[in-house]
Amino acid sequence: MTAEAPATELPLARAEAGGYPWRLLRQQWLGLLGGAITALMVALAVLGPYVTPYDPNETSTAVLKAPGGSHWFGTDEFGRDTFSRVLAGARTSISVPLAAMVLGVAAATLLGMLSAYGGGPLDLALQRVMDTFLSLPTLILAMFFVAIFGADAKNLVIVLSIAVVPPVQRVARASALAVLQQPYVEAARAVGAGPWRLLAYHVLRNIATPIVVISTTGVGALILAQAGLGFLGLGVTPPTAEWGQMLSLARPRALDAPWLALFPGGAISLAVLGFNLLGDTLRDAWDPRLRSRLEGS
């Protein structure tokens, strides 16, 4: 497919759009819903552990209680309050993918711009390395690096961000290639801007939008990948609450205590749904042409 062609149109299309994205965002209730869920999830990721009704790791004699008045989501086999654990779980289940996205996107943007600016052998070598990382599905790549580095929260962020870099740097590179051909870049160069100033000041600003959009769309997939690792027993170690791991621990008891499986899974789905809706809407707002292709309106 022609990677260059649409990229050349990017800066122009955006300039013409003006305040259009925001108006569209106001008209999109699904996007607003997504934004609300996303805001809730981010708030939980920051505040989750502080607003729980019980200590998420505190055991009690109220073992395997069904959801009810004092325990909204019931309790697990150690008498821990599931509602508190779901709230506290956001700390890992949301923050880790978000941090991985930020870290990965920063690295990808830098690499993509350098690849586009450097060109030649540097570009060739870097892109082949990226192809190599792309030759594995995200989850498998993450499993491989978890096998190497082990899994604590910090390592999970690094592992997931490694999976973010290749596709995002492709977008950054393609957009940067297009921007580098613009007359204003040439003008900046002519008045003596050095490579760093050129990239940071002129290129970065003009490729930021597509990168922000593609990153938002990708958060949902990262939440799923991190929960998947947790489910396979390759995530953070217990007793730290994490939704994927809670779900896997609930599995042997799912018949007697289905609520243990219901709520963490629901939390994952809700979070992914929120980020997906927000990402889709941002993408549509940024590129209405794409919207007509995907939504057919």
């Binding site: 062609a5 192809d131 998947g228 489910f231 289905p258 499986a261 997906n276």
Partner: protein, 314 residues
């Protein structure tokens, strides 16, 4: 186009070589000595030496990598740390399960996703369309392992029926085998069915707007012919590329679902290998998945350029 295909073909060995390097050197990035770490309680100097031999750790790296690569090229991926059996034969034993799972899952994605996509496009902006789209949005947000847990739990709570568990080889009892595989395959396919559905719908809507559709109708062709011959055929071209990607990401789906349904496939092998830190098995598993993924993408790219000769590659 030929130049593109030649370039595309030449890239395959380069990427595979880099992948093998990643897999080989990756294991050597492990902090400390793999062998000390691996043996922990059962550490004896002889056992450590044996493991270092197996991994090629006591050879200088510039010798170890070519030796490992030559082995891998001739199909020898080394011996498992745990079972002491050749990783290659362990993988080959498990491959049929995963392949069957992927084929079934892909079949479900095509048989469910494409017709639903067409349906939604034909009833654009009606209740049918909205329901199908809503379903796809929900399906995209449900993790496969949650779905699997629910499928294994809810029916037995409400209907006293639970899905089949375990594994019967296809040639022992084809019907029992298909019965066991259908539910895991459907769960793997759920996510991708939603993607294929959305893409089919969007492409159909796009194509139905084209002038040649109006022409076909104007010259009096029946709606069936217009839809199937003219519209669908063109709408499905982009869907083909997604199917290739789908097969790839189904591998990741299979990893989790095989683990849950206790199916002895490549995916559960990979999970066990990572959990037990069986490094030779991890190397072999990652190498085989990468190989499959690279070739799938190659086939899709070729198919795509064959189906749509107008595509130019930059």
């Amino acid at each position: 186009m030929t130049a593109y295909l030649v370039r595309r073909l030449l890239l395959v060995p380069v990427v595979l070589l880099l992948l093998s390097a990643l897999v080989f050197w990756g294991i050597r990035l492990i902090p400390g000595d793999v062998v000390d770490f691996r043996l922990e309680s059962s550490y004896t100097p002889e056992r450590a030496q044996q493991l270092r031999d197996a991994l090629g750790l006591n050879r200088p790296l510039w010798q170890a990598y070519p030796a490992w690569l030559a082995g891998a090229l001739s199909g020898d991926l080394g011996k498992s740390f745990i079972s002491d059996r050749p990783v290659t034969s362990e993988i080959l034993e498990r491959l049929p399960v995963t392949v069957e799972l992927l084929v079934l899952s892909l079949l479900i994605q095509v048989v469910v996703g494409i017709p639903l996509g067409i349906l939604a496009a034909l009833y654009h902006r009606t209740l049918v369309d909205r329901l199908v789209l809503l379903g796809s949005i929900v399906a995209l947000a449900i993790p496969s392992f949650w779905m699997a847990t629910l499928v294994l739990t809810l029916p037995s709570l409400f209907f006293r029926w639970s899905p089949p568990f375990g594994y019967t080889p296809f040639f022992d009892d084809p019907l029992r085998n298909l019965y066991q595989f259908s539910i895991p395959a459907a769960i793997i396919g759920l996510f991708l069915t939603a993607i294929i559905l959305r893409l089919t719908r969007a492409e159909m809507l796009e194509v139905l707007r084209q002038e040649y559709i109006t022409t076909a109708r104007a010259k009096g062709l029946g709606e069936r012919v217009v839809l199937l011959r003219h519209a669908l055929k063109n709408a499905l071209i982009p869907v083909v590329t997604v199917l290739g990607l789908a097969a790839g990401s189904s591998i990741a789906g299979a990893v989790i679902i095989e683990h849950i349904f206790a199916l002895p496939g490549l995916g559960s092998y990979g999970v066990d290998a990572v959990v037990r830190r069986d490094y030779t098995a991890v190397q072999g598993f990652v190498m085989v998945v990468g190989l499959a993924y690279v070739f799938l993408n190659l086939v899709v790219d070729m198919l795509y350029s064959y189906l749509n000769p107008r595509i130019k590659y930059g």
